[in-house]
Symmetry: D2
């Protein structure tokens, strides 16, 4: 089975960044698409398979260790000894903006659950597989989709910010531990609104005020192709017109 | 009861920073000392009461919402309408240093539990009380004892670093929301080994390589006395000889 | 002459922070006040001397090596072997805000001249004197008055921001070299408008939107009193209502 | 002349990064190579011209306004109305590592001269040209080659660090002013030793401890191709095995 095509796994696949990343990486690899709701990955999986690529979707709760474990057991069967080339953790959780004293414990925790615990559960599945593939042309790559909230704890955003700060800490720690072992870990700060269905009605003065998800996917692909002497461990991505 | 002496509450009181902070703030305020194990707060509570101050200890699990709620209900009875002048969250949790792939889920989560969830539970109890006391001579002050790990995710330290990054995010978010309401929130980066019983045998070349907990307490007291036009929201504290 | 009272030197003394710092440190030390224009230091020098303190003013161009050298030669004569306890570099230069392509070379350079070169010239005079005084009760302290522009290069502010970023780099480098030798170096980020004559007409919605210079002086004095096991190398100071 | 091929200009061309960047951008554009010493740009200019590309070298002192102005007047004649696609400022100056109190004023200033003033002089020449070319397929791109010293002021490195901090401030300020006008400005933190002639004898335990300049050139080219909705304003580049 070692002759199987290498694969990539993307957790958090909807109609936006996840789908674009899946499409981009599917040009080179089989892709596994994880999302809680099959409605989120089925359209893009069909599209990729119809276009001659290979895509598998698995319903997964990224913050539940059993669900994540089960997903990777299924992927193991599906892909066997095929090398894991890339893993993108694109789960963001719900963005909650409300006065601190109105947050329930569950609401506060949700930032951590999606961005901290989920990132941990995903990382501990993909890293052992990647360690077997460090001789690949492109070093195995683990990318975390993050946000401005990883750099600044804004008022009313403590849930999301604690989660994204934690994600950044995890990405740094993994980059320092697994970089020398040949794995490329990157924390990608997406600083701006992404141009997706959900934001289609968000109006801005400037026609290019939203980030194209295809451009994020190109950035992730570029990161994946960086050689071992030239890793980028943190990248920021924002529209030219963004205030920052 | 409004004529009662103002009080301060310190969560995470052992023989080190917490005890020194308690001693320092007890010169001006009644102090409530929270720790899971009464052995940790009893000696310093006795010492303060014997010296003519007022200290109350309550056994509390800082990461459990019921336990925290119960502690503050008890404090409400104890202090009634007396103003809350300062709150120091000094719970750090266990520092775990081990290869990422050897971490259990519980070990990984423990950083968050102590530094993220616990800080949230504490903050939502103290902030409403502080909001009633913004006319005090010294603005009510909420300080989080943090660490270098809040600034850098080192290899093998993902549990602690994710927790401390999250704590920093929370502190920033609260400072931005509650500063304009008259509450002073500070994130204190303690960058170095503290000179306490547990570290007594840690040998360094330099006689002043460890931070004196009394000096940290003085720093916290200074922060507490800053007027509303001059808040410090982040402070770093390290020995002169520390590498950083 | 070694029995002479210790002294402090403040470069950049006008009616605001510099004067308040001078007043604060003059309670404990003789103070040397440097400014280009004697009009700037004379009132505060007179005030201090009239109140029983000791203050000397010297007209100095902080960005000119000969002028700085001459000032310290004069101070050497004045204070002889008396120990130098503290040095505050409070020169900020002109804040220029204009489109980049309209900046003259001189305008662009002025940020560096005041905040980079001037800080260098001052530091190389005071550090050798401080190295002779590391046994003092309070470690000799070198503080650089800086600004938000040290942390963020805003549009239209390249001159000031390059200067303040450079000042921060210098402060960090000196802290790391001279901390282990017993000298406390601090970079103070003053994030907000200071309440001085020049800003008296700047209106804000909130009555406490401006930083009181006396409070900055208190912060600097607190920093000066920190013991060798507990140095703060960077402090931020802002009004409670400031957006950041 | 407007039908002329677009061009790129690279300041600081030697045998390392500058030459690799020139080679990479010469695949798409005519390239102008600036260096003080013609020996530095002549070999790569010859190589590019021999391979069918177009390269022009001009002897330029990047920190001297007259020299920089003269160079761009000559380039104006050479390229006429041809669009300027990219500009890379790759001048680093001498890295000086010595005790602060042994630095001469000139040594200290040299960090600023190369990284601050030189970057200013270059920017004010290229930005007006780029503003005429914002309709190009790839947004005109201005990249500053920077270093770890832009993020941390290490002991004994105050000259280099003040210069690189200043360069970062300038890059941020320009990105915020010119991004909305369609120009992509990037600050590239090269964190590690580059694999060039001068470092050929620097031995490391790991065979991939040095950054390949070709990989830096690929990174710069990727940055140049980013669309306006997806600019990266700061990138870090380091070997997988680098400690950071």
């Amino acid at each position: 089975m070692s002759s199987q095509k290498a694969w990539a796994v993307i957790a958090g696949v909807g109609s936006g960044t996840g789908a674009s990343v899946a499409r981009r990486f599917a040009k080179h690899y089989a892709v596994a698409l994880l999302a809680r709701n099959p409605d989120n990955y089925e359209p893009i999986a069909k599209e990729i398979n119809a276009a001659g690529g290979k895509a598998i979707g698995i319903s997964t709760d990224a913050s539940d260790s059993k669900s994540v474990k089960a997903a990777f057991e299924q992927l193991e069967k599906e892909f066997g000894g095929a090398p894991l080339a890339a893993a993108i953790y694109n789960v963001g959780g719900k963005f909650i903006r409300k006065p601190f004293l109105e947050l329930t414990e569950d609401e506060f925790e949700s930032g951590w659950t999606a961005n901290g615990r989920g990132a941990f559960l995903f990382s501990r599945e993909v890293l052992p597989l990647m360690l077997k593939n460090t001789d690949a042309e492109y070093p195995p790559t683990l990318i975390f989709t993050s946000a401005t909230a990883a750099m600044k704890g804004s008022a009313l955003c403590s849930s999301f910010a604690t989660g994204k700060f934690a994600m950044r800490a995890l990405a740094q720690s993994l980059a320092r531990e697994f970089g020398p072992k040949g794995i490329h870990v990157n924390h990608a700060i997406i600083d701006g609104v992404i141009d997706i269905e959900r934001t289609a009605n968000w109006k801005f003065d400037h026609p290019e005020a939203k980030i194209k998800p295809e451009a994020i996917a190109d950035a992730y692909w570029y990161l994946h192709t960086q050689p071992r002497t030239c890793f980028t461990n943190e990248i920021d991505i924002r529209p030219a017109v963004e205030k920052w």
